[in-house]
Each structure stands twice: as structure tokens, then as C-alpha cells.
């Protein structure tokens, strides 16, 4: 599992690499929830090195979006591969997630 946090240009970048599935989602979910406590920044999920996402990963995106909405901030997705992008899109999540062009 690859999970990194970095603050950049006023946003919290969350880089998740390799895969986001039901075997690792709970651990990642807990770490992100903890990191978002007392954080007032937009969140950018850097998916440039993410190969795979399932519905367990989608739950992390909803949770982060709800958390950011509660503080008036947004959640962005950066460089998902075509299938990760397709899963997010088919689930209708681009109605509340934005795409980041650069980070």
C-alpha cells in the first residue's frame, strides 16, 4: 500500500499508489480521516500511480468529500488512469468531485 500526504499550494495532496481495494481500504480510510482532523484545506487525491480502485475505494472518496464539504472545501482527483477514471465516472462521483489539471 502506498499512501503519502503533502501540503502544496494551499492544498493537502493525498497520493495513493498501487491499488485501493477492500483489503487495504479500511487502513487507508482511517489514516485519511485522522489526517483531515483540524485540516482546513482543499484535498487533491493524486492517482497518477494508482492502478486499481474498487467500490471500497469509492467509499474513501465519498467520506473525504463529505468531510471537506463540512468545512467548505473541495476534493479534486488528479491524473486517474482511464479505468480508475471510468469507475469514478460511472458511479456518478464527478457530480461532487473535481478534476485537478496540475498539482
Amino acid at each position: 500500500m502506498g499512501l503519502k500526504f503533502e501540503e502544496k499550494k494551499g492544498a493537502l495532496i493525498i497520493e495513493i499508489s498501487d491499488k485501493l481495494d477492500s483489503l487495504n481500504a479500511k487502513e487507508i480510510y482511517d489514516k485519511i480521516e485522522e489526517r483531515l482532523k483540524n485540516c482546513d484545506k482543499d484535498v487533491v487525491f493524486d492517482f497518477e500511480n494508482l492502478d486499481y480502485i474498487s467500490s471500497a475505494g469509492l467509499q474513501i472518496l465519498i467520506s473525504a468529500a463529505k468531510n471537506r464539504k463540512s468545512v467548505g472545501k473541495d476534493v479534486y482527483i488528479y491524473k486517474p488512469n482511464s479505468m480508475v477514471d471510468s469507475v469514478i465516472n460511472v458511479a456518478g462521483f464527478y457530480s461532487f468531485l473535481k478534476k485537478a489539471q496540475q498539482i
Partner: protein, 131 residues
């Protein structure tokens, strides 16, 4: 066909089956491999999650590749549940701070499969998916 006992210690073994299938039959970077893994994971986790409620104790798993199509079959015991006929209300719920998480697994299976069928025969649940 591989038989897996349905308890919390066997789910990692069950995940390994699809990884091995993709390595030996598909190109791992391909969209087909992604879809096979996605559909397999969503159905398998669903079977594991509901095994206690349905009284399920085992699942037989078969993965096959034919031309450009992959076939996933699950046969498991326990009470009847038709995943092709189940719609989770959370999928259509508009986004808000109160939106409940989850509910997208079977929705993704229906969206990314070519054929998604269920049969109940001889007291067993049989799921057949073409990807």
C-alpha cells in the same frame, strides 16, 4: 474450480486466485484485467459479507478465458440471494454531508460486465459473469 471456505481468514487467499488468473491469462495493464479484478472483488466481498446472514459456508470459484472474454463463476451454499436483481438505494442518493457510504459494488458489476446472470439450483446460488 477452486473451493474456498467462507471465513475471515480465507479472503486473502480468494483474492490471490484472481491475481494469478490475470497474470497467467491476461495482460495485467489491460482494461480487461481491471474489469475482471473489479467484478471478482465486488461479488466475492459480497458473498463473504453476507455469508453469516445467509448461512453460507463455502464458495466454488471458476475463472476462464475464451478469446477476448473472461468468465467468472461463483457457486455458493446458503440462503437465496439474487445479486442481479438488487438495487441499493444509496447509489441514487444525491451527494450531501449525510450521504451514506457504500452500496456501489453490485452497481459496478452490472455496469462493467457483458453478461451478469443468477440461478438458484439444488439449494445453491450460482452467479455467472462474462467480462
Amino acid at each position: 474450480m477452486i473451493t474456498i471456505k467462507l471465513d475471515s481468514t480465507t479472503i486473502k487467499d480468494a483474492f490471490k486466485i484472481v491475481d494469478d488468473f490475470c497474470k497467467s491469462h491476461l495482460k495485467e495493464a489491460d482494461e480487461l484485467c481491471f474489469k475482471v479484478k473489479l467484478i471478482y472483488e465486488e461479488l466475492l466481498t459480497n458473498i463473504f459479507r453476507h455469508s453469516r446472514k445467509l448461512g453460507s459456508t463455502f464458495v466454488n470459484i471458476e475463472l476462464k478465458s475464451k478469446n477476448s472474454t473472461s468468465v467468472i463463476e461463483f457457486v455458493y451454499d446458503g440462503g437465496e440471494f439474487d445479486p442481479t436483481n438488487y438495487k441499493d438505494k444509496r447509489v441514487d442518493e444525491p451527494f450531501s454531508e449525510k450521504k451514506e457510504e457504500g452500496g456501489f459494488g453490485l452497481f459496478l458489476v452490472s455496469k462493467f460486465s457483458k453478461k451478469f446472470e443468477y440461478k438458484r439450483t439444488e439449494g445453491l446460488n450460482k452467479i455467472y459473469v462474462e467480462v
